[in-house]
């Protein structure tokens, strides 16, 4: 029965002169999301609102699912348009609407009429009362509650009459593309896709880098990362995934540095490489899925050691999250099942039995000098040979 959606957005509304930029971005993102849905749609921005009108048959459930992935949307209101054929006819329509949308009518309601066309014969208060009366006549089991109604029935008199009452929650946040771009270090675990999703939710466009270590990590591990990027891309739009072959760097560190510092030094090089790619691709920051104390390389000491090598800000949205909180989000955004596939990633392959948890920066820097001979060349080769996969 619904043929359109009214899109509600929260934070954009408060933006001042830039408001149109945010709205335009939101319209773009909505159009992009709708491309994946069956049916044709028109997205229009009028009266300070965004409407999605179906201009052909469409799949309601599928459309809602895709709209729920557009950051910036706080609510999706499925809507019915009717021609203005007089007030008596409108009463019938409203009674019919309630009958169809609410099979269980033991509910309280309130009619909220709005008159954009001021020449309409009744004013808003009169419309509320008349329509409320018609509903009560038709469904005596319903009752009016003007303070906390179960159903808030919106009736807007515009070029046509717009009727809506349900608000399906959207993901919130800001439209992707309004906040610049950042480079996500994507590992294949549970945390990094969630971290990317959270930053993207603030309107940031995401690219990603993955460190691949064949033959120690498999093609399936790489496929898993591509799959995860695709899950995130469902929210963010296309992601450029930079796949860097890290094997030679890793083996070189293994040869030259103490084993218990391997992970820290390796991560410092990952950050350096990610930052190089980020700068080349106009990213304004890095994103990691780190959370304090989760593993040896994520203690505050270790984070300080890895943070030191970067000039760009490193965004760590999960820094204060517990594992279970992260898992909850990963389940919500549908990355969990993919993340837990048991393929080894390059952080675990050479991990020492007892890696340092409180690395001393001076010692780490000194040991990194053992790498002076070849490391720049290896890093350059890794950058030169990286593969870029556009994940949609």
């Amino acid at each position: 029965m619904f043929t359109a959606f009214l899109i509600k957005y929260a934070e954009i509304g408060v933006k001042g002169k830039n408001r149109y930029l945010f709205e335009n971005a939101l319209v773009q993102q909505i159009k992009y999301a709708l491309k994946r849905c069956e049916g044709e749609f028109a997205v229009r921005k009028t009266d300070g609102r965004i409407y999605v009108d179906a201009v052909s048959d469409f799949d309601y459930e599928e459309t809602v699912v895709h709209l729920q992935k557009v950051f910036g949307i706080s609510g999706i209101c499925p809507m019915v348009y009717v021609e203005d054929e007089g007030f008596e006819k409108l009463k019938e329509t409203i009674v019919g609407y309630i009958g169809t949308v609410y099979p269980d009518r033991h509910k309280s309601f309130k009619v909220a009429a709005r008159r954009a066309r001021k020449n309409y014969p009744l004013n808003s208060m009169e419309i509320n009362m008349e329509l409320g009366g018609a509903i009560l006549d038709a469904y005596p089991e319903m009752c009016v509650d003007v303070h906390k109604p179960d159903i808030l029935l919106n009736v807007e008199i515009r070029d046509k009459v717009y009727i809506y009452s349900r608000i399906i929650p959207g993901p919130g946040g800001m439209p992707v593309g309004t906040g610049g771009k950042a480079m996500l270090l994507l590992s294949g675990g549970i945390d990094s896709p969630v971290a990317g999703w959270m930053i993207a939710k603030r309107g940031v466009k995401i690219d990603a880098v993955y460190f691949h270590a064949p033959p120690y990590t498999s093609e399936r591990a790489k496929q898993k990362v591509v799959d995860l990027a695709a899950r995130v891309a469902a929210y963010t739009g296309p992601i450029y995934l930079h796949v860097v072959n890290f094997t030679d760097i890793q083996l070189y560190i293994y040869d030259k540095c103490p084993h218990d510092e391997l992970t820290i030094i390796m991560r410092r090089y990952m950050m350096r490489i990610a930052e190089r790619i980020a700068k080349d691709t106009e990213c304004l920051g890095l994103i990691t899925g780190e959370s304090i104390g989760q593993v040896a390389s994520q203690t505050m000491h270790s984070l300080m050691a890895t943070n030191e090598v970067c000039e760009l800000p490193v965004y760590r949205p999960l820094i204060g999250f517990d594992k279970m909180e992260i898992v909850d989000i990963s389940e919500k955004i549908d990355t969990y099942e993919t993340s837990i596939q048991p393929y080894e990633d390059c952080c675990t392959i050479f991990v020492a039995k007892h890696p340092v948890t409180k690395p001393n920066l001076n010692i780490i820097r000194r040991h990194e000098h053992n790498l002076d001979e070849k490391i720049d060349e290896l890093v350059q080769t890794a950058l030169d040979t990286k593969e870029v996969i556009i994940v949609r």
Partner: protein, 384 residues
């Protein structure tokens, strides 16, 4: 050079078989149950396939039941006999190193109240006939023993076991999972006291998703799949005519020069074993001699994880299989390797090479050379 040495996982389809499958799908696509000419035409393929397989195994064509492959054949053999004979007894016997298609089905039957005895195997992966003799009881309804083990290539004394079982209890049925043995050995179930025998097409250069179960005439087996009553009600569902036609053609081709091909495979296997034995600290599991299967070599390489070695070989376009898949957080250690007593350190350092008629001496040389180069390298970088 691309070297495919994972033929125990699956084989490349013979071109001729693929063409036949395609022809049946696109031209002779009738349903064998249809009454018109198209149906009759399709039925001819089934008839011809039955005749061919029966001829190759010297059995009666009505003893061939087409299935979706090895796993389904094993399931029908085990569940079908258990259901048909549970009043006579509820005891079954198998070995510790069967394929999961048998082990998991046995586990299911245990949950249904059947009792299962698992025979141990020696270091070469062979059962003891004495232990089998002791295990057979009055209420034993079925013994299931695999012919050739898929991971280490050991060959069980099927004929001796068959005779022994019938001597101990003439009513006990004998099932053989011959998925890895068919097309490498001449198998005559009727002469080996075998009542049921499972075969899969894609291990003999045929298509995937098709196989058969030999059921000796007179052996009572309950269907596992019910429906339209195809194959005399033993397995309902429209027959996979293209697959079955391909299966039969692949079997014919495999048998065409069986002795010569097997001889060649043994020679290549010898060459591979000799070559890898020159590398320090590697061990060939199972039976390296001609008492093992001609196409399987299981190799434990101390100090190198199987997954890493597999991917390193893959970089040289050599495709093998990890003896037991071992991920960092969830080690899946193979039952077979444990059963033959491979030492703990080597369990996750074992890979399998499996040959086929397409394997060449040049490919084996290339593989040996690759291993000689990479094993010392990989040993240097180990997890501590």
């Amino acid at each position: 050079m691309q070297v495919y040495l994972d033929n125990s996982a699956t084989t490349r389809c013979y071109d001729e078989v693929a063409e036949l499958v395609c022809r049946v799908m696109c031209r002779d696509y009738g349903n064998p149950s249809s009454m018109h000419h198209k149906g009759v035409e399709a039925e001819q393929y089934l008839r011809y396939a039955r005749e061919t397989l029966a001829r190759l195994m010297k059995v009666n064509e009505k003893e061939i039941l087409f299935t979706s492959g090895g796993t389904e054949s094993d399931n029908i053999a085990l569940i079908g006999t258990a259901m048909a004979h549970h009043r006579r007894g509820r005891h079954l016997i198998t070995t510790r190193m069967e394929h999961p298609a048998v082990l998991q089905t046995m586990a299911y039957l245990e949950r249904q109240g059947f009792e299962v005895t698992y025979l141990s195997v020696d270091r070469e992966g062979r059962i003891s006939l004495q232990e089998l003799e002791r295990a057979v009881r009055k209420d034993t309804i079925l013994v299931s023993i695999m012919h050739v083990n898929n991971e280490i290539g050991s060959v069980q004394p099927v004929a001796e076991a068959g005779a022994l079982i019938k001597r101990c209890n003439p009513q006990t049925l004998f099932h053989v999972d011959a998925v890895q043995g068919f097309g490498k050995f001449r198998i005559y179930p009727a002469r080996m006291d075998v009542d049921l025998l499972s075969v899969s097409a894609h291990k003999i250069h045929g298509p995937k998703g098709v196989g058969f179960l030999y059921i000796r005439d007179g052996v009572r087996v309950n269907p596992v799949i019910y429906g339209g009553g195809q194959q005399k009600g033993m397995r309902s569902g429209t027959e996979n005519v293209p697959g079955i036609a391909g299966l039969a053609r692949a079997a014919e081709l495999v048998y065409a020069e069986l002795d010569r091909d097997v001889e060649r495979m043994y020679a290549l296997r010898r060459m591979l074993i000799e070559g890898v034995s020159r590398i320090e600290d590697v061990k060939v599991n199972g039976c390296p001699g001609e008492d093992g299967a001609p196409h399987i070599v299981s190799l434990s390489v101390r100090g190198v994880r199987s997954e890493v070695l597999l991917h390193a070989l893959e970089e040289k376009e050599i495709y093998v299989s990890a003896g037991s898949a071992c991920a960092s957080n969830k080690p899946q250690i193979s039952d077979t390797l444990k059963a033959i007593g491979v030492e703990r350190d080597l369990l996750s350092s074992t890979i399998r090479f499996s040959l086929s008629v397409f394997t060449t001496a040049e490919e084996i040389e290339y593989t040996i050379q690759a291993l000689e180069e990479m094993v010392p390298m990989l040993r240097k970088y180990a997890r501590h």
